[in-house]
């Protein structure tokens, strides 16, 4: 499952990740990391059965953990297959098919929300 980990300013990101991997023995597959002077954000895939252990290890060190279980949903009646969403998605959820239909690979979605504003037809929402 996909999770998002947010680190506040005052804790150091890298040692923590190393520590929790050692502590839980869980495979934490980082797909995106964004760390700057004000905060750190990591998107990672974790095995479902180890989620609780990872979550506890992280929260006890001051990080917050969100499960990314609201991937993008498209209203097919509104979508006109323009493809505006294709170039803004950081993980390439959208792509053109042979016939210029816009296909989605929802599995990849990290729920950043940027495509919602891009879609001129209001066809995209994050699921509930």
């Amino acid at each position: 499952m996909k999770i998002r980990i947010n680190f506040p300013t005052d804790i150091l990101v890298n040692p923590i990740i190393a520590e929790i991997i050692l502590e839980t023995g869980a495979l934490l597959n980082i797909s995106q990391a964004q760390i700057d002077s004000i905060h750190g954000k990591i998107i990672a895939d974790v095995p479902e059965d180890q989620f609780n252990a990872i979550k506890n290890a992280l929260t006890s060190r001051g990080a917050t953990v969100n499960v990314l279980d609201r991937p993008i949903i498209r209203d097919e009646d509104e979508c006109v297959d323009c493809g505006a969403c294709v170039s803004v998605c950081p993980v390439k959820v959208f792509s053109f098919g042979e016939d210029w239909s816009v296909n989605m690979d929802v599995e990849k979605c990290i729920q950043c929300g940027i495509c919602l504003a891009m879609c001129p037809h209001g066809a995209l929402v994050l699921g509930r």
Binding site: V80, D81, C82, G83, A84, C85, V86, S87, V88, S95, F96, D99, W100, S101, I114, A117, M118, P120, H121, G122
Partner: protein, 500 residues
């Protein structure tokens, strides 16, 4: 030499022997048979485009009320329409925004809702007269209650259009969609190989009176569009059609975040192949159409071109800028453009649609001029205050507080020994530090990422930057980052108040 007449082609449409292909299919036919062979083989080439066409709208006639009103202002679902003509005629434009819902709903949505047969609230006001005594009117209408609903678009079907990117460090919301920072993406519009005007670039067959596919119904070209600029291949069309016959699949309201509403409109134009010259021009490919990628981070009429590319490169999904792969995406739907060219082809094959010669050719020599401006646009340098005080980073809070008291500004730029801007502190920053008992050096509390202006910028640009960054003053710096003044939102609002 192949020479055909419109009459001959229409006879073939009538007897079902007409040969029609789309502009995409024509490419291979011309490659295979040559222009002459293709001109013999094909009678009509169909084109199509489906994209945002802001310069669109509809003339509505509501019929007279009892007692009658001469509408002076009218709103449809709270979107104002223009009624500065006879009593109950009004023009609803695609980009006019709702007065209550803002960018979520606009004229384009009213137009789509009308086609979908939805009820629309109408509110009108007037001064009243002897012939039109009524002053206020409220009613609910659908498209069937209107005498006419005539789509009349001043500028549609751009021959080609620029692509857009963003060199700045912040995200931009434009009519070209969301543009990600640091050349994060490129967006483009227009149908390329299927583009109506690009398939007839010298306007041999498309002109005043040409019958076309418009929004799923038959419509007409009524002449060149506004800003028609054939010399730079930016030809445009003015277009008319009956909204009552249109299909919502091809007329779709849209909202561009931070910009406003627009109308996605489907247009398809048939090109009768009268000779091999016309056959050859319909063989244009995406690789033949070149356009500029403009930098929308430059808030000017003359945006610099970052790169020249072909539609083929744009459609490949990514292009290279400064050695970096940049993803591209269209804003117009090629899938629907194709569907339109296909549908028009079917209409012609079934004998439901006939081609015609234009009553008049479109101009080929006009240009699109910039606006004549008789008043200088004021620049930051004209209204900035030059009596700005600055302070060194190693000063303490008390010194900064004293300086702020002495000066008339809440903002104190922090400069290094050689007068280079390194930070800024505000009266608020100081109060905050004091409240927390933090009496550090200024360096510790100042904001390092200072939003600045330059003296040669238009004040509207500085005003927008103030708004976007939610700050109330900008230090003005020269090219070497020396502080030469300060401009505050107060200065700007005073000036704007005078201008409005």
């Amino acid at each position: 030499m192949v020479e055909k007449t419109i009459h001959e082609i229409n006879n073939r449409i009538k007897d079902g022997s007409v040969r029609v292909v789309t502009a995409e299919e024509m490419v291979d036919i011309v490659t295979e048979l040559g222009a002459e062979g293709a001109a013999k083989e094909v009678d009509v080439v169909t084109t199509g485009t489906f994209g945002a066409m802001c310069s669109s709208g509809v003339w509505l006639n509501f019929g007279h009320s009892e007692p009658p009103i001469k509408m002076q202002k009218v709103w449809l679902n709270d979107v104002e329409a223009y009624t500065g003509v006879a009593a109950v005629d009004a023009f609803i434009g695609a980009t006019q925004l709702s007065e209550s819902s803002g960018m979520e709903y606009g004229g384009a949505h009213v137009i789509e809702d009308l086609i979908r047969g939805k009820s629309i609230d109408l509110h009108a006001t007037s001064n009243g007269s002897d012939c039109y005594p009524r002053k206020v009117l409220d009613t609910t209408i659908t498209i069937n209650d209107l005498n006419q609903a005539i789509m009349l678009n001043p500028r549609n079907a751009y021959q080609k259009y620029n692509a857009a990117t963003n060199s700045s460090e912040s995200i931009l919301h434009t009519y070209m969609g969301t543009l990600l920072p640091n050349y994060g993406n490129v967006t483009y519009s227009a149908a390329g190989v299927l583009s109506p005007l690009y398939n007839d670039p010298t306007y041999e067959t498309i002109g005043t009176g040409t019958r076309i596919f418009l929004g799923g119904a038959q419509g007409y070209v009524i002449g060149e569009g506004t800003q028609h600029d054939p010399i730079s291949n930016f030809g445009t069309l003015m277009i008319k059609g009956d909204l009552k016959k249109m299909n919502p699949d091809y007329v779709r309201a849209a909202t561009f975040e931070g910009y406003g509403t627009s109308l996605y409109l489907g247009i398809g134009i048939p090109i009768p192949i009268l000779n091999e010259k016309i056959a050859l021009s319909t063989a244009i490919t995406d690789a033949d159409i070149v356009t500029d990628i403009l930098d929308y981070a430059v808030p000017s009429r003359d945006r610099p071109a970052v790169k020249q590319v072909t539609y083929e490169e744009l459609k490949s999904g990514s292009i290279e800028i400064d050695g970096k792969e940049v993803p591209t995406s269209p804003l117009s739907s090629f899938k629907i453009a194709r569907k339109i060219a296909g549908e028009l082809k079917d209409w012609i094959k079934k004998g439901e649609f006939f081609v015609n010669a234009p009553a008049e050719r479109l101009p080929t020599d006009t240009v699109c001029k910039p606006m004549k401006q008789t008043r200088e646009t004021p620049l930051v340098g004209d209204i900035m205050s030059t009596d700005v005080l600055t302070i060194g980073p190693d000063s303490n809070l008390c010194a900064a507080a004293r300086k702020i008291m002495e000066s008339s500004f809440n903002h104190l730029p922090v400069v290094s020994k050689n007068n280079l801007l390194v930070g800024i502190v505000t009266a608020w920053d100081i109060s905050k530090a004091v409240a927390k008992d933090k009496f550090d050096m200024l360096e510790e509390i100042m904001t390092r990422k200072v939003i600045t202006a330059t003296p040669d910028e238009a004040i509207d640009i500085a005003a927008r930057r103030l708004d976007q960054n939610r700050v109330s003053a900008l230090p003005v710096v020269d090219k070497k980052k020396h502080v030469i003044g300060i401009i505050t939102s107060d200065d700007i609002s005073k000036l704007l108040a005078r201008r409005y």
